[in-house]
Symmetry: D2
């Protein structure tokens, strides 16, 4: 199947996806749209394609796939319009900040029969994907427990946080997806503790937290703990480990180089890759290629809109658990 | 100060402490007592000392320190008798399985004015102690979060578990002490999830769990997550990591050797030290030496009976949280 | 400066360079030539360029740079023709197997005033380049000693080895360049020991060795040891470490993933990247980009034909040392 | 067999061996001798034994083993007297700085029929011993190459170096033993390059080197490279790696703790153990225990005076190679 793809959103993440699309020989890039003209023109020029409007994209029957990398508040509307226009969809996470709205999108997409990949790019990271594959091969037997450590180098501005939906929807949405994907099980109870420790304004102005500790117990009794922080002095930290009856698999950070320096005080190594653009560079590429392969019928779509909805359910539950100080039962 | 010490309990842990006492040049070993004659005789012979009865020990005014390594159900009684007899005390954890009884012991000991070290030997492990020292030197700034991973190679027999007080008192008592010691803060809320995943009899016969996920939020908002399992296929696993405003300190496992083997499939290293006797060999030695140094006035006692009581409070709270499915507020 | 580049050689390495050239926005790819038509046509189609003959390339004044990735025996001739045609040159190592011939090429290139980068891609590996940069920043003070470990997963066919110029020219040429580049010094004496241990035909039919131990003492007394093997059961191994007055810098292998697996016997990690195409994927890309940046005047050319000649001098000396069982003095 | 042992030499190394002897339940410590009275008295007091003269030791027929930890220039004489007196011998390395004299000692000892362990304690290091055991179990197949890195934290005073016999006898004697022990083969050719890089007085006053690069080719064609330095800014470095047809085994350094510190610049670990007393603490203990077990007939003596002589032959050859700038053939 020939993929003719248009990209909506020429910001940081849109540029990455568009660049990866341009590298995939099965994709013809039909054009780029953005609410702001300049970034769209710049990206289109770099990739040798045209600037389009969103309306043009949905009206052009030659375009059979859209990549939605615009701001979060546009996702649900664009998903629904794209599904209505009969296009396959690759949409950045989250589907929407509102669970009910996300569920509506899921219905529309399911009714359309088109693919809708939600951008949980971590599933396509070489290290994370290798852990998943080894679990499926039975290397560690029956799964029992998952520990996730997820830390950002620094918090976004408080103004961003006010509109972010809160740390559980904005940051842990990825970790909730990791939980479902790695343990292959659904949550029965969710408990979330949290604090604002790095900047008092995160609590006083954004009514949010920056440090969290989430516990999920699954319907089969598996246990998952997620710890996140908005600020790690040493940078970006993306690790998890999963215990099974036959052993443990750990997913570690990637480093820019493999230099070891033996000095008068310590033996030192590089810090992890700087931030998500560096750490997940290969993941973004793999994700786009997987989307294209799935449209072409060469692979089965590995993450769909239902995964986006279910991660949001967990984020909602964690938010409530934290705000109301109680354990949330989901099933 | 010359230390004349008697050892009560010639089992596995009593032998270790007695052996370390024999290696400490400031200690004169006065004798060994055990409810069962043979182990006492064997240990006494190996260390060139005598077999005594417990009564003889408490009656002998030349003995100014007792080391209690007998079974858990004897601890409280022996602590109280030793305190009454004016002896310094080194007692294995726990003080008692019953919190009220442990608090009684604390009162008696405090009234006696004698030292009472409770055997949280992990505080004396070189790696764990180095993390603590570096925290105190300010290396990672203000503490924010602690993640503890603590796994045993295999569960004890179900008959043992029935009398153990449950996993939170029997196994996590050490981890609760690590929490208090490393974060230097007290718990405000405790939440515990748990499952019996390794052996159904642990639930059905011992009414216990083998896999736990505990979350503690401190009075200052710090977050601590503890994950434990009774059974790790790869052996004994003792790690924690503590995040602060300026960085992260991780305490890793120790390995028997530093061999790396590059084979046709993988590059492999030794598993961690087999179990606590191997991993904490140095810790037990350091702990005994510290007790002696504290009695001699050379060091300030670093862990007292109040620490034993407070760890038990947390174990009690976690047990209740798990059994009743609710968050426990301690303060 | 706009770079219009033609690629000679559409085999494994030619394809890599051509692909990287296509990714560099400052390069216009003018065409691809190969003695065999099919690979050239395939590569040209993939990159959206034309098939050219070598004569067409040298005759086309719009082409100002040629990338020579054809077989070793064509290098010297093509370098000389390219220089005569006034083109900048990016040529795979080695310049030639014959030192005198390589020196002729050097003269012709120098006379032409054009750039001639010889493909020592390891200099552009992120890890190796970071070590070099940190040395130049003075991190380890005055350099004293270098240890290089360089092992291939398996030996090429004996028929290839017969025409290869021997292990020192065919395999260690890269390591000799690493020596000169990292220590920033020239050899005074060279000693080489070697054996054929993996396959007796390597000695009996190719009159070659598969395992080597080279020692170089520089004019300033620095010491370098190089160990290579044609066959490592665990794959490709590319490491070195450099000792200075203030510390040690080690360059380690890269791994496909950062998974750690804790099993019943060992804790294991991935083997190093499979072979040079994987390990040096980024290096090849960086190398091409550097060549383009150097032609554009944005960077100073970091490796020239003189480096190719000097590495060959060392390979010649090592070959003689081994064959004649004596220490070779170069200065 | 009951071992009644006397210790000659109450300096740094004598104290270690004497302390280990005191910890071995099969040993009765008969006394301690030293040319200087104070250290002997101090050590005897600590261990609860007597001060003896060397003559008393050799005259006392109840003493069946002597431990020689006195200065190097006394070793040969004491070995010969001990053998003549019918005593088993544990003597620190080297047998003597003079090869002919060492060979005489070997003859006398062999004639006596008594055990004579030479103190190559590295063979008893847990990591090194594990590598040896795994080689013997066939894990890496047929051995091909050995790379040894051996660095001290700092050079001894020049006055010491003048009397040391030179770096190859004083420092590399251990590495030559590692070579023979690990590869299980004998040298055919030896080549040594060396420089004085850390302190010009090492060359000008002691006529010695501080940095070496030795190559040994064995009779079966195996290759060994040894790199040593008297001064590593980061401390003590004791590593080797051995390549076989089926894989690679690496022996790494030991660290005081397993703390990882993730800071704003790097992720750092402890440096290796400070120096040989720390790194080889367990090795010294294991070595003494092995000697006792061998005397008791429980183990076969794993290192004898012939090993001391053969390491010295290699040190002699390396010294000549370096001084005369030629390759030495031994067989």
């Amino acid at each position: 199947m020939a993929i003719t793809m248009a990209v909506i959103g020429a910001g940081r993440i849109g540029r990455i996806h568009a660049g990866n699309a341009a590298l995939n020989p099965a994709v013809r890039l039909a054009g780029v749209a953005d609410a702001i003209p300049d970034p769209a023109a710049k990206l289109a020029a770099e990739l040798g394609t045209r600037v389009l409007t969103v309306d043009q994209i949905f009206a052009d029957s030659a375009i059979n796939a859209v990549l939605i990398g615009s701001s979060t508040d546009t996702h649900a509307d664009l998903i629904q319009r794209a599904a209505a226009a009969g296009k396959h969809i690759f949409c950045e996470k989250p589907v929407d900040l509102d669970l009910a709205r996300a569920r509506e999108c899921e219905k529309v997409v399911k009714a359309s029969g088109k693919a809708c990949l939600i951008g949980f790019q971590r599933r396509f990271d070489p290290t994370f994907a290798a852990v998943k594959a080894r679990i499926e091969q039975g290397e560690i037997g029956v799964l029992e427990a998952l520990t996730v450590i997820s830390r950002d180098p620094g918090a976004p501005p408080v103004d961003y946080l006010k509109r972010s939906g809160g740390i559980f929807k904005d940051m842990l949405i990825h970790d909730f997806d990791i939980f479902r994907w790695i343990l292959g099980d659904e949550a029965q109870t969710v408990y979330a503790a949290a604090s604002a420790l790095t900047d008092p304004k995160i609590a006083s102005e954004a009514n949010d937290a920056d440090t969290t500790a989430v516990t999920i117990r699954t319907v089969s009794g598996k246990l998952c703990q997620i710890h996140t922080s908005r600020r790690a002095a040493y940078g970006y930290d993306q690790r998890f480990e999963v215990l099974g009856s036959k052993g443990l698999l750990q997913a570690g950070n990637h480093r820019p180089t493999e230099v070891a320096a033996w000095g008068t005080d310590v033996v030192s190594f590089d810090k992890p890759e700087h931030f998500f653009l560096q750490r997940y560079e290969k993941a973004y590429r793999n994700e786009l290629d997987h989307f294209v392969a799935a449209l072409g019928g060469h692979e089965k779509l590995r993450v769909g809109i239902e995964d986006g909805v279910k991660a949001l359910e967990l984020a909602d539950a964690a938010t409530t658990s934290w705000r109301e100080g109680r354990i949330i039962s989901l099933r």
